[in-house]
Amino acid sequence: MNAIVLSAVLGVVMMFSGIFSQNKDVIRVTAIAAMIILLITNLLELNGFRLFEFNTHNMLVFDTFGLLFNSVLFACTLFFMLISGKDIGHVGNNVAEYYALIFFILCGVAIVSSFNTLLLLFLGIEIISIPLYILTGSDKRNLKGNEASLKYFLMGAFSTGLMLMGIALIYGAKGSFQMDIIAMGSGQLTPMITAGLLLLMFSMAFKVSAAPFHFWTPDVYDGAPTVFTSFMATIVKAAAFVGFIRLFEGSFGDTQPQWRLIVAIITAATLLIGNITAIFQQSVKRMLAYSSIAQAGFMMFAIVSLNERGREGLLFYATAYCIATIGVFAVLIRMRDYTFEGFNGLSRHHPTLAFTTTVFLLSLAGIPATAGFMAKFYMLSAAVGAGELLWLVILGIICAAISVYYYFRIIQAMYFKEGERQEIDSNPSFRYLLAAMAVITLLLGIFPEWLVSKLYYFVDI
């Protein structure tokens, strides 16, 4: 509750901060302070301190999983603001609005991570999406950005329509929006529920950019200002996954054997399309867009297996993926040349940048001692534990091996190829932040249970 109310309020505060100050740095610092407040209040709620008490009529349930996810995503947003805050200022003049929109998105994230009725799921998803359409087109002079924004809006609106249709069908069959009521007595899927379930599945697959609903992703990620791509590809995607798993665990958990094959096929398609297409990209930004599709494929393992290990895995995967992707994007934003050649010889002139980027890329590729490995480990063991999914697991590891190809291309460019010296705006604080994120990636890779055990540490209230 803390997070939902406060993020909305802070969003408004940020909007007005633009009136009082035109200085971008002031606004940035205000946003960071607001973000810290948001993170702290959310952590307080995790420990049982609620600032607000409402009767939500069981429409929202604040459990450890959701709150912990919020905390992780807020912490990642904080890192994002700290490390790329300056670059938000370079997008355009309306910095206060950008930050306000980010806070509104976080409000949606908090709703999606705690909804207990399909109505609020819809609301949460919309609160996330609409500010994103604006952020995608925030660079108004950029034609590609405008195109991306419009595309995103049209496709997003369409998928929202699918979701509404699904919700309506489920409501028709069950007479309620409440997830617990939907879950009751749904041992047998009637045609109406099946149709509703499939529509919900497809719309959620759209939001997490799973194949074959992924076509918007590369264009939108490529067209949007790179800072916002970074935000979109990490925090927003992870939030959509929380919604996905909450919805399917809460409403359709019992019928899982009946719809599992479809999700498994979606997962397989996502893995294959994401990874194979990423190989052929020439621009690192576009490659990262496809890599985000590929990584979504791995996160889908949690929904396919739908067990305890999968839940733990999703939390951990989202954390590892967000940190690593934010880190890679933070460096990419400051490069002049977005092609792979742009990274040539980076290690010689900017050793810290090159080293931290390497750590992030190794994490994305899933090499041991980085968080990404443990994330993949959780997902694979969730799927092996769920049984009967060995084909998907094997496909998964083949795709993980393919992903090495395009992640290592950057490492090869940075370390083994010679390149011109390029001016990259990297002040010490930027480097320290990158190093801190790399250290977190390594520590989480060696002690993953530090984070995962928190799922069981707090008492649900």
């Binding site: 001692a369 590891i397 090869q412 993953p448 249970e449």
Partner: protein, 486 residues
């Protein structure tokens, strides 16, 4: 305590090495570190040789059932000794080599050493996998950064091969873990698994493929000659001297005793592959003109024999594999040192451009001849002990109906190995000098000294192998008692 030190010393000194500015300091620092590690390893072998000092166990990931648990049995001790011994040898032998960014080079070398030590001592499957990959990453950077012209593609191929293999192994290990009664990654829990024969059959390949790529067994070997050729000499020595042992070690520790039925059921298949690999690699080695490629192929042949011997499933052949792991590590490092000397002096590795070196470098020639004879397992050399045991084990094996055929096939490859090794010596060291070798000199003091150490090792182990054999006796008996023969 000892295994913890063996991992920590190279790891920490390796990290520090990255921050050293001066090349000379970095070089000295890494040699110092390698010597300390060697001393620790010897201490564990001679003075503190009881279980109390040779294991460590700490909670790591309790919810996942994985512990930081390491222990050294005879095989672990022997391979750690090999690792600890070869690193200073390699550092001294390549002392004159200069590297750009030497601090990173030595740092990565030491990190690779830490990873290798970890592989040989871990008795928890997840920990083992961690170290398995950690040994690979520094090797990847070493080869791609300091290697020859085609280094980037070649090393990448090497990386992808081993990475894919490891991922399959990971899935196999996870599957085994889900089937353990206590949900644990401990080796002892793996021993208590009860799997159906079908499960064992497919799991065998999931796990074996990682080891097969590393060894390498035919047809997973294609990365190896290119990688050996393109890597800087010091890294080639690590790769061929120690890293290939990871594959053999993996089979003996994690595959044969755990999936005993699968190992037996696929034994004939793997044996046939090994023999094809041995003969094929030997035939290619005969035609090689490049010294590095010749030795690379000869290594495939030797490793094939070891793989064959493991699957023969009896004490004698297993004992042979143990001692041969050590001997092969020592001998091939000696070969590489000689090749490296030749390459540094004449800037070529082509056999056709060399000749008559014995006139110019008599001491080197004598040392090489001894090492080369060890390579073809002549009596009184260390390799003879191993190969003799392996052959008699394979010949009398009860695991397969075709053991006599296998022994005969392996015998052919030994004859072939004599052909290419002696031919190489003859063409490089004897005959008349060429324009290139006319100005040849004997090797420097460092190299001759280190080669003599290797020659002494070859002869001592060859004449008096008993301490080596009794060291690994416990492992052999344990592994064999868990293996399956119908």
């Amino acid at each position: 305590m000892i295994p913890v030190l063996l991992i920590l010393i190279p790891f920490l000194t390796g990290i520090i090495s990255f921050f050293l500015k001066n090349e000379r300091i970095a070089r000295g620092w890494s040699l110092l570190s390698a010597l300390i590690t060697f001393a620790v390893s010897l201490t564990g072998l001679v003075f503190l040789n009881n279980y109390e000092y040779l294991h460590a166990d700490a909670a790591w990931m309790p919810a996942l059932g994985s512990r930081f648990s390491i222990a050294m049995d005879g095989m672990g001790q022997m391979l750690c000794l090999l690792t600890a011994l070869l690193f200073p040898v390699i550092f001294i032998a390549t002392w004159r080599q200069t590297y750009t960014r030497a601090n990173s080079f030595y740092g990565l070398m030491l990190l690779a050493q830490a990873g290798l030590m970890g592989v040989f001592v871990s008795v928890d499957a997840l920990l083992f996998y961690f170290f398995w990959e950690l040994a690979l990453i520094p090797a990847y950077f070493l080869c791609s950064r300091w290697g020859g012209e085609k280094r980037i593609q070649v090393t990448f191929k090497f990386f992808i091969y081993t990475f894919v293999g490891s991922l399959f192994m990971l899935v196999g290990l996870i599957y085994l873990y889900t089937r353990t009664p206590d949900q644990s990654f401990a080796l002892t829990s793996f021993y208590n698994l009860h799997l159906t024969h079908t499960e064992e059959s497919w799991l065998f390949w999931m796990i074996f493929i990682a080891f097969a790529v590393k060894m390498p067994v035919f047809p997973f070997h294609t990365w190896q000659p290119d990688t050996y050729e393109q890597s800087p000499s010091a890294v080639t020595m690590v790769l061929s001297g120690i890293m290939v042992k990871m594959g053999i070690f993996g089979v003996i520790r994690w595959l044969a005793p755990v999936l005993s039925f699968g190992t037996w059921a696929w034994g004939d298949t793997v044996s046939v592959l090994s023999i094809i690999g041995m003969i094929y690699a030997s035939l290619i080695a005969i035609q090689q003109d490049d010294l590095k490629r010749l030795i690379a192929y000869s290594s495939i042949a030797h490793i094939g024999l070891m793989a064959l011997a493991i699957f023969a499933t009896n004490d004698i052949s297993m004992q042979g594999v143990m001692i041969q792991m050590f001997s092969h590590g020592v001998n091939i490092t000696g070969m590489w040192i000689v090749v490296d000397l030749i390459e540094r002096q004449f800037k070529t590795r082509k056999i056709s451009e060399l000749g008559g070196l014995a006139q110019k470098a008599p001491v080197l020639a004598i040392l090489l001849v001894i090492i080369a004879l060890a390579n073809i397992a002549l009596p009184l050399t260390n390799a003879f002990v191993g190969e003799f045991l392996m052959f008699s084990g394979v010949f009398t094996s009860a695991a397969s109906k075709y053991s006599v055929l296998f022994a005969a096939g392996a015998g052919i490859s030994i004859i072939l190995s004599a052909i290419y090794t002696l031919n190489m010596i003859q063409r490089v060291f004897y005959g008349s000098t060429t324009t290139l070798t006319a100005r040849g000199k004997d090797a420097g003091r460092n190299e001759l000294w280190i080669l003599s150490v290797i020659v002494v090792l070859i002869l001592v182990v060859g004449v008096f192998p008993k301490p080596m054999l009794s060291l690994t006796l416990d492992t052999v008996q344990q592994v064999i008692s868990r293996m399956f023969i119908q």
